[in-house]
């Protein structure tokens, strides 16, 4: 078996993890942050798998499976939460949400504001197919 | 298994209030009348049990404790065979929490459910039971909101207080010690006066801070004993025996260690107890808590909870740190006590709020108590113990009376009152009577305690503090005490009749049967103890002598050269009978 040394795997895992950390700390878009967090997880996962291979047992593998499962659940929950958050403040900027700070502390405000996002062109809409039925003015059960 | 019926009664007495409290809470606020009767029944049964135990103890106690405390009627006493007769072993087999493993023929070390009765706690338990009944009676009509919770907390407090006095396991003691805080916190915080939340919080945090330091002291004693003797035990009698043994047989090199150790242990234990007593600079939570607490809370706070502090000194501080009690305790606590006596009296004089006046008078009276205790001789200790009971009775009754007055007129300002003795004759009579008991009029209980305290203090001599000087300064409290009490009587009960505004539904009635039932037993006891304190002093004597002997041993160790034991001269022996 062509032996790729263990530390190669570890380096890859570390790089992935650090990229994730940097992404998590530097980006303010919640979805991107989430993805970065996933990336950290993957870095750890690679570590686990590499060590499992190296030690010749399956413990690391099984942990990895757990992590994947949990990450999937997380993704589902997190994306749902993001959706709710976006709906209430119309933004995915994480710094909009600082309500859990200590009572009486002033809010942290950016010194220079980000440029406003470009106004998106409304998507072209197609004319609906079919004809609207005639309203008879009678009560219907909705 | 050596169990006797008295130990079962003790268990029932301890558990009954808690059980009553749980049932009261479960019954719901709507069934308040049923809850009242239930609470009254529970406390009355406790009182009856306490009385039975006390009478039995007074009549049948034959063994004198040797070397360490020997509680009687311990539930779960394994018993020992002495000459073919099964005798109580004054220990228990009821373990709560095992720690470590058994070694050799020693039992597995454990925190135990170790309760029992001896001369030091017997009368405090009777006092607690009596004041609990009065507390229930005085709350009868004054508490209308959330009644089920109120009585639940009140009864839980009862179990906590019984537990502190009954415990002979140091951790159990500490648990009950803290358990008394919680119910009172809620009693003050929910049913108190206008500043109740502030008062409750201050009371809770202040006393908790102190008692956490006490916990450190407790652990230090336990661990050091394990370190030095290899025996891990939480039993107070065993710890006392170990410490006494170690201290007495210490080599000269070890002596320094034990002295330092004792000083720290003494200071640590003192921290919690001194706040609870309260000793002079640590008393400021007391007036606030008293003023804001509902009447029953004030009664129990003054009557029983303060005694937990003094009892802690007596049960733990003195026996576990005898040398430090002599070297550090007597000068430090003695001085603070005397300052407290005078300072408390002056503060009391300056108050316009009756409850505050009585609260500061507690500071003064507890100063007497501590002065007697740190005379470290039998007379002083006996006076101190008696003063605990006396203060519980008289100050408890004073708070009851003020509560009754408050229930009628809804004000505690003395300036609002005048000539109440003409308006409320019975209440006035009781007030004068109890005030006289409180200022130590001979024939009533206060005098016996105070006299013994002063005899003890005057007889105390050590290298760094002069007993007669302390006694002389403390005696100022006799006049000052009379001054503030008489001033209170003069302003509230004598002089031209001046009634505060009241709700105006009809005339304000004098004491009714329920209120009399709460007061009369206390008043009778005040008189009985004043005229015939022998039963109390006799039952407590062996245990007090035990503690006093530990102290005189310490004195011998401190001054091996000046080993002049003061004995009564032959003249006293041959007095005509």
């Amino acid at each position: 078996m062509s032996a790729v040394p263990l530390h190669n795997y570890l380096v890859v895992g570390a790089i992935l993890f650090v990229l994730g950390v940097i992404g998590f700390l530097a980006r303010r878009n919640m979805i991107v942050m989430f993805l970065s967090a996933e990336m950290m997880l993957q870095g750890v996962t690679i570590n686990l798998v590499a060590f499992a291979r190296y030690r010749g047992n399956l413990q690391g593998q099984s942990f990895t499976l757990f992590i994947l499962t949990v990450a999937a659940c997380e993704a589902a929950v997190a994306l749902a939460l993001f959706l709710m958050l976006y709906r209430s403040r119309k933004s995915l900027d994480v710094s909009v949400w600082q309500d859990l700070r200590e009572a009486g502390q002033p809010a942290t405000v950016d010194e220079e504001t980000l440029p406003l996002p470009p106004v998106e062109e409304p998507l072209p809409t197609l004319t609906p197919a079919g004809l609207e039925p005639e309203h008879r003015g009678e009560r219907t059960h909705v | 298994m050596h169990t006797d019926v008295m130990s079962i009664l003790l268990l029932v007495m301890l558990g009954l209030p808690l059980a009553g409290g749980v049932v009261a809470a479960a019954l719901g606020a709507a069934r308040l009348p049923a809850i009242r009767w239930l609470s009254l029944a529970a406390t009355l049964v406790s009182l009856a049990l306490a009385a039975i135990v006390a009478v039995d103890f007074g009549a049948h106690r034959t063994r004198v404790p040797q070397g360490t405390f020997q509680p009687e009627h311990v539930p779960g006493d394994p018993g020992v065979m002495v000459e073919g007769v099964r005798q109580p072993a004054h220990t228990t087999t009821w373990d709560l929490l095992h720690l470590g493993s058994a070694s050799g023929n020693q039992r597995q070390p454990a925190i135990q459910f170790f309760i029992g009765i001896d001369g030091l706690n017997l009368w405090l338990i009777v006092l607690t039971a009596l004041l609990l009944v009065s507390a229930v009676l005085v709350s009868w009509t004054s508490i209308r909101e959330r009644g089920n919770e109120y009585y639940a907390w009140l009864l839980t407090l009862g179990t906590g207080m019984f537990g502190v006095f009954l415990s002979f396991d140091i951790i159990l003691f500490y648990v009950f010690f803290e358990l008394t805080l919680v119910p009172l916190f809620f009693l003050i915080g929910i049913w108190g006066g206008s500043q109740r939340q502030h008062a409750a919080r201050k009371f809770f945090i202040y006393t908790l801070t102190g008692s956490l330091i006490t916990l450190l002291g407790v652990l230090a004693v336990v661990l050091t004993c394990q370190n030095r003797t290899g025996e891990l035990t939480f039993s107070i009698p065993r710890l006392v025996a170990l410490v006494q043994d170690q201290v007495a047989n210490a080599t000269p090199e070890e002596r320094g260690f034990w002295m330092t150790f004792q000083v720290w242990v003494f200071l640590a234990l003192m921290a919690g107890f001194a706040v609870k007593v309260p000793l002079f600079p640590l008393h400021t939570w007391l007036p606030l808590a008293h003023v804001e607490a509902p009447t029953a809370g004030s009664v129990l706070l003054a009557g029983v909870l303060l005694k937990i502090g003094t009892y802690g000194f007596l049960r733990l501080c003195l026996p576990l740190a005898p040398d430090a009690s002599l070297a550090v305790g007597a000068p430090l606590v003695g001085t603070l006590a005397v300052i407290g006596i005078i300072y408390g009296a002056f503060c009391s004089l300056a108050q316009d709020d009756i409850k505050k006046l009585i609260a500061y008078s507690s500071v003064s009276h507890l100063g007497f108590c501590m002065l007697g205790m740190f005379a470290l001789n039998e007379a002083g200790l006996a006076g101190s113990l008696l003063q605990m009971i006396n203060h519980g009775l008289s100050t408890g009754a004073l708070f009851l009376l003020v509560g009754m007055l408050y229930e009628r007129y809804h004000t505690r300002r003395m300036a609002d009152y005048g000539g109440m003795a003409a308006r409320l004759k019975l209440l006035g009579c009781f007030m004068v009577f109890i005030a006289l008991s409180s200022i130590g009029l001979p024939g009533l209980n206060g005098f016996v305690g105070e006299a013994l305290i002063f005899f003890g203090a005057y007889d105390f001599h050590s290298a760094n503090v002069s007993g007669p000087a302390l006694a002389a300064l403390g005696s100022a409290g006799i006049v000052l005490g009379a001054w503030y009490m008489m001033t209170m009587l003069r302003r509230v009960f004598f002089g031209p009749v001046k009634e505060p505004e009241h709700d105006g539904h009809g005339l304000i009635a004098d004491l009714n049967f329920r209120e009399l039932a709460a007061l009369v037993p206390i008043a009778v006891l005040c008189l009985a103890i004043g005229l015939y304190p022998k039963p109390l002093l006799d039952t407590a004597r062996p245990d007090l002598k035990l503690v006093a002997d530990m102290m005189s041993e310490a004195q011998k160790r401190a001054q091996p050269d000046a080993l002049v034991r003061r004995v009564p001269s032959p003249v006293a022996e041959e007095r005509p009978q």
Partner: protein, 657 residues
């Protein structure tokens, strides 16, 4: 009758039972009949006291003079307080001194209880009054019966309590309520000294407080170092209770109580407790000449001061109150003059003799004053009535008897006893070994001066009240007539006693001194040698005082006012009681009130403030760390990363790469 211990306890306990009975059943059942238990109990105690007196008299004087402890009955009933070395029994004793005090207290008590039934008739607190009087009799008899100092102290406080309750009998009256409080507090100030003295005795004499043990030990081993101090502490108690300078200020105010109370407690019995205490402790005082000097000086000075104040008082009862203070001063003068054991027994006889006669005539005067007050609708200001000798005939002549006895007119009670006191002081000034001879001589002169003043102010009061133009205040209404027999009969009995009892018991028969001299540990009383010259001088002085009073208030009624105008300063000084109350207010009460306020502020802002300050410390830390909790997820994440990094670095550096 011979088995004294069997009934000795009944003497105090009969009144106690009466008190309990009246207190429990008075308001509901007995009501206006509430005087019966008290009167019956007092009379019963009186009979028993006479039995005791006879039994004690029958004891044969055996053994050497210095150790005659068997000449008394000691009855130990039960152990009161026993803890450690403290062992105090409830033990009563009957010896000569006790027996005389007992008879006097119970006899006068009975008469006053009877008088009160008329005087207090119709009062709202009628049962309360008699319960308290009975309680007082219990305490007072207990006080003289006690066999050890602590029991004495207990009853001592007990009489103080009854005094407090009875002065404040009309407690809705502010002046009465204030006077009650003042009386209690001022006497308690002295009591603290007494208590400390008892503690010192206990420690000094090997943990015992029994009279016999202490005195016996003292005789065997001589005076301990602190005896003077101990005696002075004991004397503090006497100063408070017997209203001596500087603690005399409570007694004049105590006249707010009902007149029979003033007669019983504040003239005849309770205020003499201090004299009894010092007389009882004579074996101690004899060994402490400096303490004796203090006793004599305070006594003599008080006698003079009070007499001077009494000169100008307008309130009849206050005149009598100051007169009481003055006469008590005489008694202490006598006790303080007992230098050396022979003279000490003479001194004790003189003091107790004066106490005995004084009790009769002063009780009589107060009761007569009460009768005046009763008739005048509670007006007691002498400026508002006068010429009452025709309106109140019995009261008039009984008052006159008392006044003559008090003034020391020759051959009446007061004359004999006062003469003995002056003779004792004279004797003390002749003791060549004493370094204080001159002081005693001075005290003798002041005593003589006081005698003259006494005669003057007594008769000033008498003439103002009973002579001159008949004037009756409008408050009197239809009451302005003689009191009913229930009040006048006790007056008559006392009047006879005031005139004759002094002559009967002592100067010719020497019965009193012989009897009293058999008190254990009191030296044999040597035969009394009357100093005829001194007696003549004091008699003349007394008569002169009366004559001056007659001149100033009957013959030339304007003289007094003119003199007052002339010596305005002195007059005001005397009228305002030497401004002592004001001085105490400024130098004692105000500073204490200041201290009180200081403590209050100290407690609220400094002691409690420090506690709150400690409570602020966690909050201070909180303020430092609070900005870190800014709610930004990424800030937290950075902190976490940094934390992990720090840990990693530490681990790496510690355990190597």
């Amino acid at each position: 009758m011979s088995n004294v211990p069997a009934y000795l306890w009944l003497i105090p306990f009969l009144p106690l039972a009466a008190a309990a009975l009246t207190a429990l059943f008075g308001p509901r059942v007995l009501r206006q009949q509430s005087h019966w238990p008290c009167i019956l109990a007092a009379a019963g105690s009186c009979v028993l006291s006479v039995f005791v007196l006879l039994a004690v008299r029958d004891l044969a004087p055996t053994g050497p003079a210095d150790h005659r402890a068997e000449e008394q009955y000691v009855a130990a009933y039960y152990t009161w307080i026993h803890a450690g070395f403290v062992d105090i029994g409830f033990t009563l004793r009957a010896d000569s001194l006790t027996a005389i005090m007992l008879v006097m207290v119970t006899f006068i008590g009975t008469l006053i209880a009877i008088y009160s039934a008329g005087y207090m008739h119709g009062e709202e607190g009628y049962p309360r009054y008699f319960a308290e009087v009975a309680l007082f009799l219990f305490s007072m008899t207990g006080l003289v019966l006690a066999d050890n100092y602590l029991l004495l102290y207990a009853f001592w406080e007990g009489v103080g309590l009854c005094s407090y309750l009875l002065i404040g009998f009309w407690f809705t009256k502010p002046s009465a309520a204030d006077a009650a409080r003042k009386a209690f507090l001022v006497t308690r100030l002295g009591d603290v000294g007494l208590f400390l003295g008892i503690l010192a005795l206990w420690v000094t004499f090997g943990h015992t407080l029994n009279y016999d043990d202490i005195f016996g030990q003292l005789q065997r081993s001589g005076p301990p170092a602190w005896l003077n101090g101990i005696c002075l502490l004991l004397f503090c108690g006497a100063v408070g209770k017997s209203a001596q300078f500087p603690l005399h200020v409570w007694l004049p105010d105590a006249m707010e109580g009902p007149s029979p109370v003033s007669a019983l407690i504040h003239a005849a019995t309770m205020v003499t407790a201090g004299v009894y205490l010092v007389a009882r402790s004579t074996p101690l005082f004899v060994q402490a000449p400096e303490a004796q000097l203090v006793v004599a000086v305070i006594g003599g000075f008080t006698a003079l001061l009070a007499a001077l104040i009494a000169l100008t008082q307008n309130d009849l009862k206050r005149v009598l109150a100051y007169s009481t203070i003055s006469q008590l001063g005489y008694m202490f003068l006598a006790l303080g003059s007992g230098l050396g054991s022979t003279l000490a027994s003479v001194a004790v006889v003189a003091a107790i003799f004066h106490l005995f006669t004084h009790a009769f005539f002063k009780a009589l005067l107060f009761l007569a004053a009460g009768s005046v007050m009763h008739a005048m609708g509670n007006v007691i200001d002498m400026r508002r009535f006068g010429g009452l000798r025709h309106v109140l005939r019995t009261t008039h002549w009984t008052f006159l008897c008392g006044a003559l006895a008090l003034a020391g007119v020759p051959f009446l009670s007061g004359f004999w006893s006062k003469d003995e006191i002056l003779a004792t002081t004279l004797e003390a000034s002749r003791q060549a070994w004493s370094p204080y001879q001159a002081i005693y001589l001075l005290l003798l002169l002041s005593g003589l001066l006081t005698a003259g003043l006494t005669a003057f102010y007594t008769f000033r009061a008498y003439f103002l009240t009973f002579w001159g133009e008949p004037r009756i205040p409008e408050e009197a209404g239809h009451h302005a007539h003689e009191a009913p027999p229930v009040m006048t009969v006790p007056l008559m009995i006392l009047a006879v006693a005031a005139l004759a009892i002094g002559a009967v018991v002592e100067p010719f028969t020497h019965w009193f001194s012989g009897f009293l001299g058999r008190t254990p540990f009191l030296g044999e009383v040597e035969e009394h040698r009357p100093v005829v010259l001194l007696a003549m001088v004091s008699g003349v002085i007394a008569l002169a005082g009366i004559a001056v009073a007659w001149w100033m208030y009957v013959r030339q009624p304007g003289t007094a006012a003119a003199l007052a105008q002339r010596f305005q300063g002195l007059y005001q000084l005397s009228l305002n009681r030497c401004y002592l109350d004001e001085l105490y207010d400024v130098f004692f009460l105000r500073p204490l009130a200041g201290l009180r306020e200081f403590c209050r502020i100290l407690d609220a802002y400094v002691v409690d403030g420090l506690v709150d300050l400690v409570g602020q410390i966690p909050r201070l830390f909180g303020a430092f760390f609070r900005p870190m909790q800014n709610g930004l997820v990424q800030f937290y994440a950075v902190a976490m990363m940094l934390g992990v990094t720090v840990f990693l670095v530490v681990i790496l550096f510690k355990y190597g790469w």
